[in-house]
């Protein structure tokens, strides 16, 4: 694979895609042939495999290890119209000290906020906390805006100090078969990300079929995404285990093909420790242990952290506490 040094990373992505596809010009037809040439996914078999992985029984020491790993993989998220500076600062404080009763508790990987909150989050987290700031961009969650707006949205978040950008793909373009548009948009957003890592949200709940999820995963990786991510959290179903399994197969096979490792982020709907552990088992047995690290796997979640903390306290003390013992700036009513 030869990548010529140019000033334009979007051109880099295109030339690399040409190499991988073996075409002289990257056309929508070439992308279609390539994506539709990927092996199909049998829905029944895929769901049975995911259900089988879900029956793994993770106990005692392995459970304690998995809980800490899961905590360290969380992108602690607040993406509401009602988000305030106070809410974001509260969440940052939670990320810095997830469990005041046990300072050995690991910190989550990142705080995930809207672009206008990046500065607040950055300031509240400080420079050396290890907790990253992730910003959703590109007219999240629908992605229905002009490319100029999407790029401006991204640049704005990067300028404000975002370490990571969570973009959405144009599902309309994808579903109508206009893969080249989706490719170009991802490549252009990647270009303005600079050093920030790019997570590509495919909104799998709108893509519906597993074949589409597989194609969108490969398209996102081809265009330069550092992470492939299931959902915005605004559409149901969000992160399911079978969808995540398909994506983990995609990053595994992508690395076999190119030597590059791409991360995976299921987001939305993962609320319990039990669920989180099923995802970690799936990461372990499908993609392999190289992905068992928060550089390569994340959970987009808000309430999951508290359940993990509750389970962690139980593993340490031997007794279940309750929501009253989980310090939270915006306590959930679910407990």
């Amino acid at each position: 694979m030869s990548i010529t040094q140019t000033a334009d990373p979007a051109l880099d992505a295109t030339s690399r895609a040409r190499d991988l596809l073996g075409v002289s010009r990257l056309t929508n037809q070439a992308l279609t042939r390539w994506l539709h040439g990927l092996p199909g996914v049998d829905q029944v078999g895929c769901e049975a495999r995911a259900a089988g992985l879900g029956t793994r029984s993770i106990k005692t020491t392995s459970k304690a290890w998995a809980i800490d790993l899961a905590i360290s993989m969380i992108d602690l998220t607040t993406l509401e119209g009602a988000d305030t500076r106070g809410r974001v600062r509260g969440l940052a404080a939670k990320a810095l000290l997830p469990d005041p009763s046990d300072p050995s508790t690991p910190r989550p990987a990142a705080l995930c906020v809207y672009g206008d909150m990046v500065g607040i989050a950055r300031e509240a987290l400080g420079a050396d906390s290890g907790v990253k700031v992730a910003a959703v961009a590109t007219a999240f969650p629908s992605g229905r805006a002009s490319m100029a707006v999407k790029l401006a949205d991204t640049k704005d978040a990067v300028r404000a100090g975002a370490d990571e950008i969570d973009m959405v793909i144009d599902r309309g373009a994808f579903l109508s078969g206009d893969y080249l548009t989706v490719f170009n948009q991802i490549a252009q957003v990647k270009e303005v990300c600079g050093d920030a890592r790019l997570k590509v949200i495919m909104e799998t709940g709108e893509l519906v079929t597993y074949d589409n999820v597989r194609r969108a995963s490969w398209l996102s990786m081809l265009a330069g995404g550092d992470f492939i991510k299931t959902s915005t959290g605004k559409i149901q179903p969000a992160a399911t285990l079978p969808v995540t399994l398909i994506m983990l197969e995609a990053v595994r096979d992508w690395r076999d093909l190119t030597g590059e490792q791409v991360g995976v982020k299921p987001a939305g709907g993962i609320r319990t420790s039990k669920d989180a552990i099923k995802f970690l088992v799936t990461v372990n047995e499908i993609a392999g242990e190289d992905w068992l690290d928060n550089h390569w796997f994340r959970f987009g979640a808000s309430s999951l952290l508290n359940d993990l903390l509750l389970q962690r306290q139980r593993m340490t003390t031997g007794a279940y506490s309750g929501a009253s013992y989980i310090a939270d700036d915006s306590p959930s009513t679910a407990y």
Binding site: P39, R49, S57, I58, S62
Partner: protein, 481 residues
Amino acid sequence: MPKFEYAPAPESRAVVDLQSSYGLFINGEFVDGSGASFKSISPATEEVLAEVSVASDADVDAAVKAARTAYTRVWSRMSGADRGKYLYRIARILQERAREFAVLESLDNGKPIKESRDVDIPLAAAHFFYNAGWADKLGYAALPGGANPQPHGVVGQIIPWNFPMLMLSWKIAPALATGNTVVLKPAETTPLTALLFAEVCQQADLPPGVVNIVTGAGPTGQAIVDHPGIDKLAFTGSTGVGKMIARAISGTRKKATLELGGKAANIVFDDAPIDQAVEGIVRGIFFNQGHVCCAGSRLLVQETIAEEVESRLKRRLETLRVGDPLDKNTDVGAINSKAQLDRIIALTDVGEAEGAERWDNGCELPSKGFWFRPTVFTGVSQTHRIAQEEVFGPVLSVLTFRTPQEAVAKANNTPYGLSAGIWTEKGSRILWMADQLKAGVVWANTFNQFDPTSPFGGYKESGYGREGGRHGLEPYVKGTH
């Protein structure tokens, strides 16, 4: 050392109340056998689980007489609805005691608890539920005998060690639903769940003699086959023993259904959903340690994708967890017996000597008990013995083909004809292949799926007669085999 080590997650044995010795179940009671006894061991640890009686000719005679009396005095006079009531009761008790049955099955057989818990026992209960539903509707099942199908009388049933409880349910449920009474012999290495089932018969107040369970090895089976009071035989096991039974009953009035060996082809085309096909290959041959008569022991893969499938398969096999059958995370358990392990070793040695390339997943094996690593032979030819003979273990032979016609020809080039699998995204090809394959069961884009509503059985040396579904009732009424 792996990053994510799964800590041991053993299912508790406490739920099973093992006795030190078991008698025979004749006429509704446990009785001491008149012969010797044998030990049933756990193949995972070689621990002796219990002493079990060997039923002598006289014991078998007593069991057949009890079954005859129960047939003439009670069971044949009972309405179908009432027979169904007993079957429903048995099915519910099996569900209630499912965990006990699952643990005992894994102890005695060596199969992983996740399979006995999620497959064997739920399916066994489902077969009783399903056949219970037929008991009062036999006149509408299009059986020989039309509106009033007639049972044979006393049925002798001999079952194998690979799915002890499931095979028991496949045999007993339709026999009882159609109004027959039963003398059943479980395999000598796995008698314990059948004896626990005898307790269930007592718990369900099944009339004495309707189900009789005699334990022992070949000679006990022979006594059942030769007994003049037996009207019909149902056997699942090796083709060798099946042939002996067919010879023994030829010229007599006895009917038989035989479900015998297999050497199924699992056929993967280059347009297959490849990750699911790999799962299907694993399920096809490593499910139940490959101790499955319909196992997909021959992988026929299209030459264009052979290398890719092989490498994906090997990567997948490296994640298989082999070990303690009672651990909930175990994927592959113990080989059922020393004798079976010796046979697997002998045949795989032949495979190597004949020039096929041998690979196994290199996993650690426990020091005690009978174990064999998941093994794949590549570069196998149709004439190799490992492509022709049933290994009945976790051993896959990989062959290639170029065209659909060649796949069919190779798949059918075996004395067996029990099952086959087809993996392709092309629906028309599935239908064409299914039509060409000489196999009783053909799975499309899946493998080793079982359901009580679906008939199961073989072609050629895989036997005759069907079990399951409406078709599974036919052998138990007069006017068929």
